[in-house]
Subunit: 405 residues, 2 copies
């Protein structure tokens, strides 16, 4: 843990999360300098410690989600272990958990129980489908919530089965949304002395990503049936994914951008054209418009050259980068969108930067991630005031656990 | 605006945003009870006032993003109009804007200028590619940032061009992430008296959705080349989208879930099977596994029946709902994932609920969205202390503007 001050220095969070959604919430706090105690269930700890082991058996998955977190590993099945977790509640501002709804209550750690330990505690529960409602007890994965939300139905070709995005966007953005709830509740607590239970479901987070679909289906009384429209948006043209020789480009050439795209293509004839010069008709004849643009695009050896040409004329456009292409991209490096972590076990590797930039704090304070149970001693001694003898006894009974990575 | 107290009651936000990413940030504050003054540039105001006009010329797009916001509409091109905006800065905690980088400075409202008006101001700037770096001046749309981030490259079939999700997830989740930065900065200001400039780019937000792709490409030194893998995840099987008779199902039947899926399919033979009973071999023979499951799935008239069958056996699964199917789904209704807004102009329609649930506050306080310039008089009088004569003079000069919806 870095000792440099950061924007949330002093905030204390008890982190009972694992996998991705929960840890993405506590990652926001840890990367902003809060004191986050990640309590992992022994013997193996967070399940992701077995994932993305590239380099000295270290889980890069764990590292990416755990910079500046402290790790305490206890046996949850042992009452003494569980008692330690509950003892920690008295010393923190916030408890975050992402167990299946009901599991915290079964462990004697419902919000009501936590309030008895600390009356103004803020508890944040993250789940797939929420703490309430008939589906709440379903087992949760990101894609399950995404399927229910209608978001999956909006990805792909309308005549084929939909596709799933191969990124953890539901889990991660749910964790971020949870941190909004916690920070709002903290503000309220600081002003009133009252705690709060914050309930966050992936389903609700995914559902609000429908910026138009829900209200259009509802207000049109079913006349509008929102569905996926392939590689192009449905309401203006051209706007979407265009195939070039060595990859694809995203091009937004609609409305006032059409004249700039025509200039890029050196096709003034398309600007005054009876069909292509008209916004509505261009949408009706979208397939032809796409063909014109892709034919032009394929005249370049690389989409990057075509993008450079379009940029000269101010067309909003981008190469569709592969992940590999992003990693050493000058913009990503200069801005810290990608950062190099120097992990004590795995060594140096690149991962995404923290998505928030503050004017008065460094973008990358050089935090490191903990090994399993690395802070057992520190936390039990400094936070709970246990003696070395007590801690050693807990370790020898297998209630406190440490791992090599 | 509701007068019921809510979790952020008392917080004052000056909202200079339009379109989707910026308004999604200030929506978080408004729906949690903050006093959000949305300043719109005359004559037409926020461009989205022209979008999703279904019912009495009211923009449902605007309503969805603007519940509990106040609208003040001024002519930004008139120095007196711009002066009013600057005057408001002195009376708020936070200013949020999503102009193209540089535009605020051109209007004399850089962070340095705002600090001269209010020394502890928190300014939040939202843009596509961030305030810094060689790409920062590019024109920004959600899909442009998505293309650069490598996220688009992770959606679709690996042998074809990628697809774009037809939902506003980049813009909206960027707005949510921005609200995290603002709330953290507020906590810091309350403790130290110091303001902050928060810089949020869609690119950075999208990029952190790569939970494994970036570190795997980096640490494997290019041996792992992350790309889209279609309708199924790449590392376990079966897990993904399966085609049924009347739609698709999301099924997670890997590892310990496989036995439950075999039980659902009444195929104990697949559990002890030399190939299908083995996790690694099932992944190698994924296409065959998909065919077995889809053949079984098509034995049901509806995927909903198959999902019910799998649920009996505890298989994580879901119907892939269309947006229409979500709207009257009992879980969505009971939980408030969908809510009915009673808009004074458009009447009743459904839209997504606020994604955060607090134990001590109602999920839906019944907020309404403002008409253009509805709060001109109220804000200028109550916040800036202008007289009725002054306000009338500004209106008659066209500096203050009101619209019917």
């Amino acid at each position: 843990m870095s000792s440099q001050p950061n924007i949330l220095t002093g905030l204390k969070v008890l982190d009972l999360t694992r996998a991705l959604a929960g840890p993405s919430c506590t990652r926001m706090f840890a990367e902003m300098g809060a004191d986050v105690i990640k309590v992992e269930a022994g013997p193996g700890g967070d399940m992701v410690r077995g994932m993305s082991k590239i380099g000295n058996e270290r889980s890069l998955y764990l590292v990416q989600q755990s910079l500046n977190k402290k790790s305490v590993c206890v046996d949850f099945h042992n009452p003494e272990g569980l008692a330690l977790v509950k003892e920690l509640v008295a010393h923190v501002d916030v408890v975050v958990e992402n167990y299946k709804p009901g599991v915290m209550a079964n462990m004697g750690m419902s919000y009501e129980e936590l309030k008895k330990i600390k009356s103004d505690i803020i508890m944040c529960s993250i789940s797939a489908l929420g703490q309430t409602g008939p589906l709440s007890s379903k087992p949760g994965y990101d894609y399950i919530a995404q399927a229910y939300s209608g978001v999956t139905s909006m990805i792909g070709d309308p005549n084929e089965a939909p596709y799933i995005p191969c990124v953890g966007l539901g889990d991660i953005s749910t964790g971020v949304t949870a941190s909004v709830g916690v920070l709002a509740a903290l503000r309220y607590r600081d002003q009133t002395g009252k705690g709060q239970h914050v309930d966050i479901g992936l389903l609700d987070v995914y559902y609000q990503y429908h910026e138009v679909n829900v209200h259009q289906a509802s207000a049109s009384k079913g006349a509008i049936k929102p569905t996926r429209t392939g590689r192009h948006v449905s309401y203006v043209a051209p706007a979407g994914v265009f195939q070039g020789n060595d990859g694809c480009a995203m091009i937004m050439g609609f409305l006032h951008h059409w004249k700039d795209l025509c200039a890029s293509m050196e096709r003034p004839d398309l600007l005054d054209h009876e069909i292509y010069g008209n916004d509505a008709k261009r949408l009706e004849h979208r397939d032809e418009v796409i063909e014109i643009i892709e034919t032009w695009l394929k005249g370049f050896p690389s989409v990057h050259d075509a993008v450079a040409k379009m940029e000269e004329h101010g067309v909003p456009c981008a190469p569709i980068l592969t992940v590999e292409e992003t990693i050493n991209h000058p913009h990503f490096r200069e801005r810290g969108t990608v950062r190099t972590v120097d992990d004590p076990i795995a060594g140096k590797f690149d991962m995404p930067g923290h998505p928030i930039r503050f004017s008065d704090f460094p973008d990358d304070p050089g935090y490191v991630a903990p090994t399993l149970g690395q802070h057992n001693q520190e936390v039990l001694s400094e936070v709970l005031g246990k003696s070395k003898e007590e801690i050693d006894a807990l370790a020898s009974k297998g209630i406190l656990i440490e791992g090599p990575n």
